[in-house]
């Protein structure tokens, strides 16, 4: 066995997964995330960092260009797998590992891969616009999404950036797969506690606290598996988050949504309830904790009810305009719109 084969095999035992989860594929995503976490396989930050493109599918046509771009941006060794049901997660990840360790195949991939060139994330020429302090500064037009770590996949935020401050923001959504016959989005529904913990895991990833995010993911998976340890895991997480003065300080005052506005946009879930307690990102993650605790304690209906995702998307641009990228990402994560529950709508051609 040559040196290349040895190195390939050593690396393939710990691949980085670039997960793509169009709306409506939450069961597949959760299955892959749980297996990856238990095997110690890290998530890729982006295509440059990924070895395996994991598509929770089947991919709707609107996603093909997105997938092509991600795949082109990945350098060899690389492989891609697709799973159409949560039960396919284990064989898919095994196949990915085998594909990465296959020397002949990776030599072919290396010949095909464009090594990121020409990347499409190039900067368009900057133009100039007034900034909030009355200066004239360079302005870049950038699309955030539809695939970013801990991001509601499918959401696209078209922003004008000055430095890293969002001067304006527009929202649209790439559609997910068509609803299953007769099922609507029902196949995507998970227990309230698990949904809130899933939101927390993503928010904590965006907040840059991997250990707490892992704790939230473990609690989520325990709830999904109906594990008797779930309430204890949630209590541990809640204690940790509520004690963190730093997390509170970093999320306070961001993306404030007043109760009247929440009512006007027709929100009825945790975002609406959090609006009564300050309405910022901090109030929203605290509300998620309360929801998860109540749902586990048997008060499922008190904590149930999600916010209308269409209302959340209407609220979003106003909340993130004027924030920097980090704060805007926290706001998006704290709204956590469930895009699979959106009524199907045409994707604007771009």
């Amino acid at each position: 066995m040559g040196l290349t084969a040895r190195l390939l095999r050593a690396g393939a035992a710990r691949p980085r997964l670039l997960l793509v989860a169009p709306p409506g594929t939450r069961p597949q995503r959760l299955a892959v995330e749980r297996l990856a976490r238990q095997s110690g396989w890290p998530a890729a930050d982006g295509p440059a960092d990924g070895d395996v493109l994991v598509l929770c599918g089947p991919a709707p046509p609107a996603w093909q260009p997105v997938l092509d771009e991600l795949w082109r941006d990945m350098a060899a060794p690389r492989t891609r797998v697709e799973l159409t049901a949560a039960t396919e997660a284990l064989p898919a990840l095994r196949a990915a590992r085998a594909g990465l360790a296959d020397v002949a195949r990776q030599r072919r991939e290396a010949a095909l891969a464009s090594r990121g060139e020409p990347a499409r994330r190039d900067l368009p020429m900057a133009d100039v616009a007034d900034d909030r302090d009355g200066l004239r500064l360079d302005q870049l037009h950038v699309t955030l999404g539809p695939v970013l770590p801990a991001w509601p996949h499918g959401l696209r935020l078209r922003v004008a950036l000055q430095g890293d401050v969002l001067q304006s923001a527009d929202v649209d959504v790439l559609d997910g797969p068509p609803p299953l016959p007769g099922g609507g989005a029902a196949y995507d529904v998970i227990p309230t506690a698990a949904a809130r913990l899933d939101g927390l895991a993503r928010l904590l990833t965006v907040a840059g606290w991997p250990d707490a995010a892992a704790g939230a993911a473990r609690a989520r998976d325990a709830v999904l598996a109906a594990d008797p340890s779930a309430p204890a895991a949630v209590a541990r997480l809640a204690r940790r988050l509520r004690r963190s003065r730093l997390l509170a300080a970093m999320t306070a005052g961001l993306g404030v949504l007043a109760p009247e506005a929440a009512a006007r946009y027709g929100l009825t879930g945790p975002v609406r309830r959090a609006a009564a307690a300050g309405g910022d990102v901090r109030a929203r993650w605290r509300q998620w904790l309360v929801d998860a605790e109540e749902a586990l304690a048997g008060g499922e209906h008190a904590a149930a009810g999600d916010d209308d995702p269409a209302g959340l998307l209407d609220v979003l641009p106003g909340l993130v305009t004027g924030l920097d990228l980090a704060a805007a990402r926290l706001v998006v994560a704290s709204l956590d719109p469930d895009l699979s529950a959106l009524a199907p709508h045409p994707v604007p051609a771009s």
Binding site: T4, L7, L8, A10, G11, A12, A13, R14, P15, R37, Q38, G40, A43, D45, G46, A48, D49, D51, A75, A76, P77, A110, A113, R115, G116, E117, P118, A119, R121, D122, L123, L140, V142, L148, P149, A150, L161, D164, L204, T205, V206, A207, G208, W209, P210, D211, A212, A214, A217, R218, S244, L246, A249, M250, D324, L325, A326, A327, R329, L330
Partner: protein, 307 residues
């Protein structure tokens, strides 16, 4: 204190071993948090290294290639050169009379290196990571400079060996705890880790590292761990009495203390979320900087009173 010249190759080996140990410890702690088995995590950094060694290098459309590669690879060089003035026992590679300033010079060089890594690939996410770093660096660098000044004032010398010699009675960490705390915070800062990892954070798809692939990513990530190790190693002569200690030989005390500081840094940084530049900047300028200046002032008064 008379220093013996030491082979740079040995120093590089020590630095590499420390950086690798830190990466392994970090992987084990991450595995424990995620509930995955710890045994495979011990070799996880080696596996990551293997996959990056065989991976293709990446490029982007119209990159500033020279500056980009120089920035990413430069972190390791900066870490190695900064460590050159750190004595292990009575051995040191570069026994210069301005050792404290020497170390400071290389931590300032990191500004340029990180910015170039963000600027080079012609990519929005990487560039925004560069902006983030500058905002954070503006807030930790001045407090760090004053924190470095305090031990030098107390020792009356910028030579690292003299700073160690001045601690034969009392370690400086006792005399100047604020400077020590500010220094450790800044170590997170210049190694882009823990609460200061915002420039390479996942929310920006990896920030300044967003477009790095293959060996370029390997050098960059190794550089970050090497800087963390260099920061831990320099804390020992500066604040923790260098090679002073009973029974064990001096060089071993240096190594033991360095490993302890490094392990504490790796463990501590997992306990907190990221500091966002927007929120940290006021703290850096309104709290840390005056605190570090007050510490230097207090140290100066004590030094003058003693003289």
């Amino acid at each position: 204190m008379q220093a013996t010249a030491w082979s740079p190759l040995v120093l590089l080996a020590v630095l590499a071993a420390l950086a690798l140990a830190a990466a392994c410890l970090d992987a084990v702690l991450a595995a424990r948090a995620a509930g995955s088995p710890a045994a495979p995590a011990v070799v996880a950094p080696l596996r990551d290294g293997a996959r990056l060694l065989v991976a293709q290098r990446r490029t982007t459309l119209a990159p500033d290639a020279l500056l980009w590669r120089a920035g990413g690879g430069g972190l390791l060089v900066a870490a190695a050169l900064a460590t050159a003035v750190v004595p292990f026992g009575d051995r040191v590679v570069q026994d210069t009379g301005v050792g404290v300033v020497w170390f400071n010079a290389f931590d300032v060089l990191i500004w340029g290196l990180v910015w170039l890594t963000g600027w080079g690939p012609n990519s929005v996410l990487a560039l925004a990571g560069g902006y983030r770093f500058l905002a954070l660096a503006l807030s930790y660098e001045l407090p760090l400079m004053f924190a470095l000044t305090s031990p030098a004032i107390a020792a009356g010398s910028l030579r690292v060996g003299d700073v160690v010699g001045a601690q034969s009675g009392l370690w400086f960490v006792v005399q100047m705890p604020v400077a020590f705390a500010v220094y450790l915070l800044a170590v997170f800062g210049f190694s882009l880790s823990g609460p200061f990892a915002q420039p390479v954070a996942a929310d920006l798809g990896g920030g300044v590292a967003a477009e790095l692939g293959g060996v370029d990513r390997l050098l960059f990530q190794a550089g970050r761990y090497a800087l963390l190790a260099a920061g831990a190693a320099f804390a020992v002569p500066l604040f923790l009495g260098g090679d002073h200690g009973p029974l064990l030989p001096g060089w071993l005390w240096s190594v033991v203390k360095t490993v302890a500081v490094l392990a504490a840094l790796v463990a501590l940084r997992r306990r907190v979320p990221l500091l966002r530049g927007e929120r940290f900047t006021p703290v850096g300028w309104v709290v840390l900087l005056p605190a570090a200046v007050a510490q230097a002032l207090l140290t100066s008064v004590i030094a003058v009173a003693r003289a």
